[in-house]
């Protein structure tokens, strides 16, 4: 597989951030949750490298530990949605009938709730909290995968090589696993690379609304929420988590863009170039 600069840069940005998150205890000895009201709102350089927030917590530690929360949770959501969405999409596209009817109806009703609102509703029912937001985002983000995979399965199912596999005595599971799944993984990867940015944004948005990670958990969205009230006195409280968030978002975006370009050039990568070519422009499904 050839590389392109977008993908390499994006991967580098994300890798660097992930490394910072993993190495957080080595880079900052401060406890991200320890408050010290004596050291409130100190500007960067005076106390700690990045200053302190309104409760005197060390910003460097909070931004670094925030990586673990923001990035780790995003990947968790991504994993759950990719697995569920792909599985359900495959089943509903390949077998059709009752299963397809049921899954498609569920998707259609869930899609009737615009954008972030379904997630908001779920959090509304369950109450604010990080894990509640995780489930809320999972509930919406699998749909994109299911729709993509279902559509592609429907096209692939009619392809001659699948018919040939039927005639070659393959069982349904062999056809799904050996002939259909490998041919749509490329597009799922493109979609996922674009979608992970959107998941990060949703997670941060919900936290920013005060519904996601609850204080004192260090999470960038929640930190920005707290910083909102101190914009005029302590802009650094917003700048550092904001920069981190932008850094991560751009990293994912570049990576996704690069991957899409790469797989689209490579005719093997996407068995249905036209369809995914358009999907690329709409990737991520839900933006804020």
């Amino acid at each position: 597989m050839r590389w392109n600069w977008k993908m390499a840069l994006g991967l580098g940005m994300i890798g660097a951030l992930a490394l910072l998150g993993i190495l957080a205890p080595l880079l900052s000895h401060a406890d991200p949750a320890a408050t010290d009201l004596m050291l409130r709102l100190k500007p960067p350089g005076t106390v700690g490298l990045l200053g302190t927030d309104h409760l005197g917590r060390d910003m460097l530690a909070r931004v670094l530990y925030g990586t673990r929360c923001s990035m780790g949770v995003s990947f968790l959501i991504l994993g759950v949605s990719v697995l569920t969405g792909t599985l359900l999409g495959l089943l509903s596209g390949y077998f059709g009938g009752m299963a397809d009817g049921a899954i498609s109806s569920v998707m259609e009703v869930l899609l009737a709730f615009p954008g972030l609102i379904l997630s908001l509703t779920v959090v509304g029912i369950l109450g604010p909290g990080l894990w509640h937001t995780v489930w809320a985002i999972c509930l919406t983000s699998w749909i994109g995968y299911a729709r993509l995979v279902r559509g592609m399965t429907l096209t692939l199912r009619e392809k001659e090589f699948v018919k040939a596999a039927v005639l070659g005595g393959c069982s349904h599971w062999a056809i799904l696993g050996r002939h259909i799944l490998p041919n749509l993984l490329g597009n799922v990867a493109i979609y996922a690379a674009a979608n992970v940015g959107s998941i990060t944004a949703q997670l941060a948005s919900l936290s920013f609304l005060g519904l996601g990670a609850q204080p004192p958990t260090p999470e960038w969205g929640a930190m920005l929420n707290e910083a909102k009230g101190f914009l005029s006195v302590a802009p650094w409280m917003a700048i550092f988590p904001g920069v981190a968030l932008v850094w991560m978002a751009c990293g994912f975006h570049l990576f996704g863009d690069g991957l899409a370009g790469l797989l689209r050039q490579d005719p093997q990568g996407s068995s249905d170039g036209k369809e995914c070519g358009k999907g690329g422009a709409f990737t991520g499904g839900r933006t804020l």
Binding site: A112, G115, L120, V123, I125, A201, L224, V246, G280
Partner: protein, 314 residues
Amino acid sequence: MPGYLIKKLGRLLLVLIGVSLIAFGMTHWIQGNPAELVLAQTGVDPTQEEIERMEHQLGLDRSLPEQYLTWIEKVLQGDFGTSYITGVPVKEELAYRVPATLKLTIGAFLVTLGLAVPLGIWSAVQKDKLPDVLTRGAASMGLAVPGFIWGLLLCYWFSVRLGLLPMTGEQTFARLVLPVLTLSLPLTSRYICVIRGCILEQLEEGYVFLLRSKGLRERTILWGNVLKNAAVPVVSLLGLSLGSLLGGSVVVESLFSWPGLGSYLITSINNRDYPVITAYVLLMAVAFVLINGLADLLLCLLDPRIRLGGGRQT
């Protein structure tokens, strides 16, 4: 065309029923026993007998389908119950909040179209030249970064640092500028990419080759043919994007303390004010489904292949 519309209408109805079932489920199972809730407002611990009487009064002892029908009837009349917190009927609060949100979303939608359509076309025409590269770069940034970050930035520069535009106070035009910009930014970026992509895709089509080989001017080809064809996928996306505006409005309203539905929702979630949440969800879903229905209708009028039922769709 009638066949297509009837089919779409049928699906729309089914989805609305599904939505109402979810909302009913919310009121029924999640909020706890409404009878107890109502009685709790009196401040005295109710007896079992009182609860049962109240349940009868509220119709809770009837079968579920019956309850659903009564509930639907009430909802259709605009009765969403009363807020647990303020005791004010939800309907009244909504009537005050809806116009504020409408101002915001419609404003953002217009800004999006006004910016994205010319920029998208320009970018496609100037493909790989400087204007295209710059526009695409900007659009990429707008797409990658979460909307509320833009909001915070705009807020910091124009309101805190320059003091140009107010963040609080009356719902004036000046106060609307920042929220509208914030809300439309991600969508504008997305539309620039989509419009550009659709135009470029159309330019590769066989009919463009035919028109070029007849020596027609690029202007005729673009304005007389390509734009209309490229509009089809864009229009089919319009409905969805209004949805993302509605979703985004929650964040923007809460960021700029705009007294719309979104900020009302956030307060209610924090207070577990279930009747408000249910009403909000129902309202949004219905609005969204209807908007999508309208977009379908528009698409149907635009594209003869759908209207006359035949051929492959784009």
